[in-house]
Amino acid sequence: MRQINESLLKRLYKAWRADKPQSEGPHPDEEDWVDFIEGRLPAGDYERLKIHLLECSRCATNLATSLKLYNCPKVANPAELMLQTVYLKGDRSSRLIELLLKLRGKAIEIVRSNAEVVLGQNSVPFVVLRSQGIKIFKEEVVVTKVVSGNIIEIKVSNENGNYFNICLKLKKKKTPSITKEFRANLLKEGRELESYYSDSGIVSFLHLFPGSYVIELYQANRKISSIALEVGKWTPAIRH
């Protein structure tokens, strides 16, 4: 007689489960799941959620993850994240895009970013590229981030290692059309340096010195995003 061990039993179960249809919603909300876990749901709702769990892998995964987080050790969040959260406090409607760069001769190195980097036809999160050791780009980098239904495209080009240029483009997320009307303000140390209203879908800031900048993007007088841009010059390590 052939033997089935626990590992094979699990695979059998998963194969059987994979053939089952999945619930397409509506899904119970977060409070329902908390009350489910903490045993506060009325009996009828409790049974309803159990039935949903068997029909919906997404909710089952979320519930299981939540259960595993009980007694999760607390870790301190980095100070810079607190600053960003404080930033949101004063500007709750906008999203922050971070872009830390270094000019390296004619190339550009991305040091940190929460945006996606455009490589040919694809956009790849920078964190993924960095894990693969890809962080230096020839002459220019293009990053994108989806914010409030728009794709914000930021092109930074290196001008001989001394200056850089920024070109901003807004596209609608659902259609490839360019969002023509928006305003972009360039700030340094809280002071506005330049401000342009675009009626062509593109705004450029040219011949900027390395330093810390903030670019604020507005649509119909509503701020949709801020870009925290820090550009430094690469200095080679000195060997003794």
Partner: protein
């Protein structure tokens, strides 16, 4: 002051209340995000992803005039901290689902878990062929015969990797009762497998 009153003040734009919200809950949220990522990602990726998710989550809570925060109703006595835990879980796992094309699903962490386990996806093919190329599909019928509670037990234990002690909360029962339930299910499956010519060796 209750959670709802406190939240109302944040939503109404009271800066002091928002400061308290950030101080009180940002560490909690960040810890939950890291807790989930530890199960899914290589250590060198965790911090970058955690920062991106943390920032995105805070923006999600406040965007469109606090649309998400306004959905908190404290139903049945649900606390704001517990609600935020579930919001964080849902947001983080949805984020990972979106990213899963980009990162390795198979790379395991120290706990032997990988991203594929964390974001269970029923569309992933599961081969039923053993090393001897034997088709075990006939055994699937044995799962079909189980009752609803037994199927849910297997779903959470086998597919979602919940430990037996974690299942106590789902089934609102004691550890001994959970152990007993597992034994009963295994026994039921053993009998069914035996009829089909297989020995369940557990």
């Amino acid at each position: 002051m209750g959670d709802l009153d406190f939240l109302r003040r944040c939503i109404q734009g009271e800066n002091a209340s928002w400061d308290i919200f950030v101080k009180r809950y940002s560490r909690l949220i960040y810890s939950y995000i890291c807790g989930i990522l530890k199960r899914s990602l290589a250590p060198e990726l965790i911090q970058d992803y955690a920062q991106d998710i943390f920032q995105g989550l805070f923006a999600y809570l406040v965007e469109d005039n606090f649309k998400k925060l306004r959905t908190f109703k404290a139903k049945n006595g649900c606390s704001l901290a517990s609600w935020l835990r579930q919001v964080t879980v849902n947001y983080t796992i949805d984020f990972l689902r979106r990213e899963r094309q980009m990162i390795s699903l198979e790379e395991e962490n120290d706990d032997g878990l990988n991203l594929k386990d964390t974001i269970a996806d029923s569309s992933l093919p599961v081969s039923l062929l053993t090393e001897q190329h034997e088709d075990l599909s006939i055994l699937k019928e044995c799962f079909e015969r189980l009752g609803f509670e037994e199927k849910l037990f297997l779903e959470l234990h086998f597919n979602q990797n919940l430990k037996l002690k974690e299942l106590m909360r789902v089934f609102k029962t004691s550890r001994a009762a959970i152990d007993m339930r597992k034994k009963r299910i295994i026994l039921q499956l053993k009998e069914c497998f035996k009829i089909k010519g297989y020995l369940l060796d557990l």
